[in-house]
């Protein structure tokens, strides 16, 4: 019998390719945001509102990975922003190889910001580095204030938390204090942005915070 030491990361291939992508993003001065959230939480709506707020200053493109919504790329293109749909073939998360194929279809040199709409899933995408500058998670009010306790990983992996659909707060008895304190425990450094993506509420604060990050890589 023999013992063989491997000390090999399981997601080696994904991580290696993610590092190559990160390098390419840096060389082209493009900032990449990976959006994580449940289906229906308002990822596409948030992307559309963010584009509206930032399009005057930055060249933006969107990569659509959410299987639940092949119409999303069309919604974004209709606003005049380049969008590439990734065919995930039913996968529960995006991996860097899938992202690379989409990235290869974009003109990185002229872009400042790429927003990735990951597969609607609060579990898997957390573990997969895509070479992005940051992951941001969106929770919508109707999903409930207890989600940080059920899905701690995604709240921990995110650099910022967007609380969407705040206009529905009275209807859903959302305990914002409990939510905020749970998020602070999980991820003390992450800001929480309260928005209503479809009502142009709170979006400018989030967009300005993001704009600062984009400017920093230019």
């Amino acid at each position: 019998m023999a013992h063989i030491d491997l000390k090999q990361p399981i997601l080696d291939k994904n991580d290696q390719l993610a590092r190559e992508l990160r390098q390419r993003f840096a060389e082209n001065h493009v900032f990449v945001v990976d959006l994580l959230a449940s289906p229906g939480s308002g990822k596409t709506s948030t992307i559309l509102a963010t584009i509206d707020a930032l399009r005057d200053e930055f060249n933006i493109a969107v990569i659509e990975g959410d299987i639940a919504s092949s119409v999303d790329a069309e919604r974004i293109k209709a606003q005049g922003t380049p969008a590439v749909q990734i065919n995930t073939g039913g996968a529960c998360h995006l991996e860097s190889a899938m992202l690379k194929r989409a990235i290869d279809m974009l003109d990185l040199e002229r872009l400042d910001l790429i927003i990735i709409e990951n597969v609607g899933n609060l579990v898997c995408p957390t573990d997969f580095d895509l070479g992005e500058n940051m992951k941001v998670m969106i929770l919508s009010v109707p999903e409930g204030d207890d989600k940080p306790l059920k899905y701690p990983g995604v709240f921990q992996a995110a650099e910022a938390v967007i609380l969407n659909k705040v206009d529905t707060m009275p209807v859903f008895n959302f305990d914002e204090e409990a939510f905020t304190s749970a998020v602070n425990q999980l991820n003390p450094q992450a800001p929480i942005f309260r928005i209503a993506a479809t009502k142009e509420q709170g979006v400018s604060e989030w967009a300005e915070w993001l704009a600062e990050k984009i400017r920093a890589v230019q």
Binding site: M1, A2, H3, I4, I10, Q189
Partner: protein, 137 residues
């Protein structure tokens, strides 16, 4: 959720290393899995059972998983502390600026394999093609 996919990657890497070492059987695979990842121990075990069944090299192998509990460092007071998935705040000073040191591992640590000379010295007489001379050290 994607434990089967993760384990497929593990099996590929394990079989490659075992083959490179000239192993005939993999006996044990040891992983380190951080508790801050989304990989679930039982689901990994189950995926391993399913996949090893159809792998010639790994059909008798067992999977050992070392779960790594989260450990962070406080960037304000320097305290290093273990915690659970839910509480990242520094227990010493209540500091917000903390950095995770351990708990996100997803690693193949090592494998135990049967090399041809093991089989020779054992009861297996089926390895007539392998002589002691050829094996070297």
């Amino acid at each position: 959720m994607h434990e089967l996919g993760i384990m497929t990657g593990v099996m590929d890497a394990v079989e490659k290393s075992a083959r490179e070492a000239g192993a005939q059987k993999v006996l044990e695979v040891t992983l380190s899995v951080g508790e801050m990842t989304e990989a679930i121990e039982d689901a990994l075990q189950f995926a391993f059972e399913v996949l090893s069944e159809s792998s010639q090299l790994c059909s008798d192998a067992t999977l050992k998983i070392n779960m790594i509990s989260p450990k962070s460092e406080c960037l304000e007071c320097g305290a290093v502390y273990t915690h659970d998935r839910f509480h990242m705040l520094c227990p010493e000073c209540g500091g917000f600026a903390t950095q995770l040191l351990e708990g996100r591992e997803l690693q193949i640590d090592s494998i135990e394999v049967d090399l041809p000379d093991d089989a020779e010295s054992g009861a297996d007489a089926d390895k007539s093609g392998v002589s002691d001379d050829e094996l070297g050290q």
